[in-house]
Amino acid sequence: MRDYFNSLADALMTQLTGGEVLLCSFDGEDSDFVRLNKNKVRQAGHVTQRYLHLDLIRGQRHATCSSVLAGHLEHDLPPLRALLDTLRAQITLLSDDPYLMYATEINNSTHGDAAAGIDSGAALEDIFSAAHGLDLVGLWASGAIYSGFANSLGQRNWHQSTTFNFDWSCYHQTDKAVKNNYAGFEWNAKILKHKIHDARTQLDIIARPAITLAPGHYRAYFAPAALEELLSVMAWGGFGLKAHRSARTPLIKMVKQDRRLHADVSLTEDHARGLAPNFTRGGFVTRAPVTLIVHGKYTDCLVNPRSAKEYGVPLNSGSEAPHALDMQPGTLPHTDVLKKLDTGLYINNLWYCNFSDHDDCRITGMTRFACFWVQDGVITAPINVMRFDDSIYRLLGTQLLALTAEREFLFDTSTYMQRSTRSAQLPGALVDDFTLTL
């Protein structure tokens, strides 16, 4: 795939005329998707997709487009040459783009290798066997993901990874279920069996009569997956420079009123993690981590090339939304969570979060999957789903009691358009006075 992309880019570069610069970005995947319901196959198949994004530049003018690729040079080059001509014609209609910014220093990179594929068929047989008798529903996604960059200045970048992400739930009945995930680079049936065994154990608790909580304030523990849901909403404009400078950030009180989170909260975007490519469509390579929040104080924004040019700030990211969020751990051993929680909610997952008061970073959402009532340090029963409505300034600020010493590495399960390469490394959080509303 890399050779194909480089050959394609080389051929396109020969089409340029004097004074033109061309940026080429490549995205592709070869993915198996198997959808399961009741531990059986609902839909299964394979997706092959490849796209090329072109940015033709002359001076400060430029025009862009993206096109699907067949994957054969002789087939793809003629329409791409025609597209270049279209872009050339468009440029004459456009004025200078004051925010155009692209790399002019060559910075080549290669990440990943042509790893052996993951045998989806064998993995699925392991799943069917391990989950025999369970009402398992979910998605198996696996295969190679590719990203590439080339410019007419001679830079070449390539990022390739072959991964699997099995995201599933085991249902007791109606909306009572245990949620789990197994993702990585090498499939290990023993790990799957262990996770399924844990699910069976949790299902025993799920099967107990559920309790319905009254709206009010509760002590609560958020497992890393639940905390990730909150942080993902916070990231809708919370960490990007453009959102900050245009006053659209939900963290506007941190920016304009020096509001702070708890001193234990430190967040970093870890570009070097390696799951997502660290080169931008402009050819910049970002390796240094970006410290977003340090000891509760807002520190840096993620700055993409357009914002860097617009606001005269050094760029530090291809995107102004985090792709590799990293939260510093605390000191609470996970083995002590139930004891420290004492009486309250053990929240494994949250769902459908959104802002209820954007300026106050107040978020509403639902509990989902295996959420439990804990009494005197012992899990006693599942809870029926409850709506919460609370501010990040409370949950990760005034009401934060502790973060766990252990963190979980969470692969994003998103498959919109293509399989996601986002990830997060997060602890769990113990919080007092969590607000349930409905």
């Binding site: 198949g45 025009a63 862009t64 783009d97 995201d167 109606t174 459908y352």
Partner: protein
């Protein structure tokens, strides 16, 4: 072009129990001016094939962007291999999977072609619109945009099916952000009016004429009091009714959710199969149709992606739940009647049960009568926040703007309005339904669902409606 590819495919197709080929050829253009600067023009060309095979007791698919003979041959082999591998583990009886044989052609009616307007004129129009949004120094962000999409689909099957459809969509939008200190208010306009058609849609939607109004409302909201807290009557305008319909009628009625397919991601439903035919979903004023025949609406079509002919159907009539949103596959699984709503967002995803156009039918109350029916209440418009549980029951929605209603009269603006409720009871409190003069045909390009995930466009048309006894609240002062 698609017919040529289909002919090549047909020659390659193996002797299996059934095969289908769904080709999609799409071109999307986006032009946006933000804060007076033209953003990079974006044109996306997308084309691919979704190949489905049934052999014996197994079915499988392969989607590919390689539309050469070798690419199609490889996709067929992959789909067939998946079908064979799946056979011992299939959830569904392959005899129940759709094998469409219809021959149909559909085309979006267009009065003025998008391409009849030069690019330079489109850019100039957006610069003017963006400038009109700059009414005050406190407008700190503003944008005007035009999105246009043309999609050709061709479904060909071994049963003789040949369904060709050509869609054209225009999706304009306006946005203004006002700020003072740590308070920000955002107002949008026109973007809920996405629909099918050509350049003529802009005039119908008031684009770009509404730009100044959008900016002035954002500014006015900066100093509006927060929405009060309490149980009160609510008048929802069509651009909030759209979201209310979508989340608390549309998703709960999707039959694949009811059958459990979505439980790991989008969720299940509080609606169960036994409710259809008798369940009082809403008050007697509630009438809901699945209507793919309204040609200007976003998700109108002749056939769905499983090759079933689409027709207008009542899902809820006089408040009684009649029929789910289920395509032929879900219908066969459940033994229930449904509608033609099996849709895929693109060539690279399989068809699943979706909403398409889901509309609340107009009633007989004028807008003034709706307002006059409320002694103390709140009018809310334009959705800004949405959240609902995985059974699509407990919801909380926020709007960009609201107005006080006192003694049957509209009063001042309110900021950060929110309300919450429970789907199973909310619609029973529907007290007034607006007439055709309050009715708007709207839509959104962003409805997420499925594994692998899909985002697809859906249409919702609705009059303004009054609900009694709603739990409303605002934000921090």
């Amino acid at each position: 072009m698609l017919n040529t590819i289909a002919q090549i495919f047909t020659r390659l197709a193996p002797a299996v129990d059934f095969w289908s080929l769904r080709l999609v050829d799409e071109r999307e253009e986006q032009v946006m001016v933000r804060q007076g600067v033209l953003s990079p023009l974006s044109t996306q060309i997308n084309r691919g094939a979704f190949v489905s095979v049934i052999t014996g007791e197994g079915s499988g698919y392969a989607a590919t962007c390689d539309l050469t003979a070798s690419g199609l041959r490889a996709a067929l082999q992959q789909a067939r291999a998946w079908a064979q591998r799946n056979a011992p583990h299939m959830l569904l009886d392959t005899r129940n999977l759709p094998r469409p044989a219809l021959q149909v052609h559909y085309q979006t009616p267009v009065k003025q072609a998008w391409d009849s307007i030069p690019l330079a004129d489109k850019i100039a129009l957006l610069h003017d619109a963006c400038a009109a949004l700059a009414t005050d120094a406190r407008i700190v962000d503003r944008a005007a945009w035009l999105n246009r999409r043309v999609t050709d689909t061709l479904l060909v099957t071994s049963a003789g099916g040949h369904i060709a459809q050509h869609f054209e969509y225009v999706m304009p939008g306006l946005m203004a952000v006002a700020n003072e200190g740590a308070r920000t208010q955002r107002r949008t306009g026109v973007s809920d009016g996405a629909g099918q058609g050509g350049w003529e849609r802009l005039a119908l939607l008031g684009f770009p004429g509404k730009a100044r109004e959008v900016a002035e409302q954002a500014l006015e909201l900066l100093h509006a009091p927060p929405c009060p807290t309490g149980i009160t009557d609510v008048l929802l305008m069509p651009d909030q009714m759209m979201l209310q319909i979508h989340e608390s009628i549309g998703h709960p009625l999707e039959l694949d959710r009811i059958l459990g397919d979505e439980r790991n991601f989008a969720g299940t439903s509080f609606v169960t199969q036994d409710m259809f035919g008798s369940y009082q979903y809403g008050s007697k004023l509630l009438n809901v149709t699945f209507d793919p025949t309204r040609t200007e609406q976003l998700a109108s079509y002749a056939c769905d992606d499983d090759g079933t002919a689409a027709e207008r159907t009542y899902l809820i009539r006089d408040g009684i739940l009649l029929r789910p949103l289920g395509g032929v596959t879900s219908q066969a699984r459940s033994g229930m009647q449904g509608v033609a709503n099996a849709r895929a967002c693109d060539w690279n995803r399989p068809a699943i049960d979706r909403m398409a156009n889901l509309n609340v039918e107009p009633g007989d109350s004028t807008f003034n009568e709706l307002v006059a029916s409320i002694e103390h209440g709140v009018l809310m418009e334009t959705n800004s926040s949405w959240s609902i549980d995985d059974s699509r029951n407990k919801f909380q929605f926020g709007c960009e703007s609201a107005r006080v209603i006192e003694n049957g009269e509209l009063k001042g603006l309110l900021r950060n309005p929110n309300y919450r409720g429970v789907s199973a009871t909310f619609w029973r409190n529907l007290a007034k339904v607006g007439d055709r003069n309050t009715f708007e045909v709207l839509g959104t390009p962003n409805c997420g669902k499925g594994e692998p995930q899909q985002v697809i466009h859906v249409g919702h048309a609705s009059p303004a409606c009054v609900f009694r006894g709603v739990d409303v609240f605002g934000g921090a002062d």
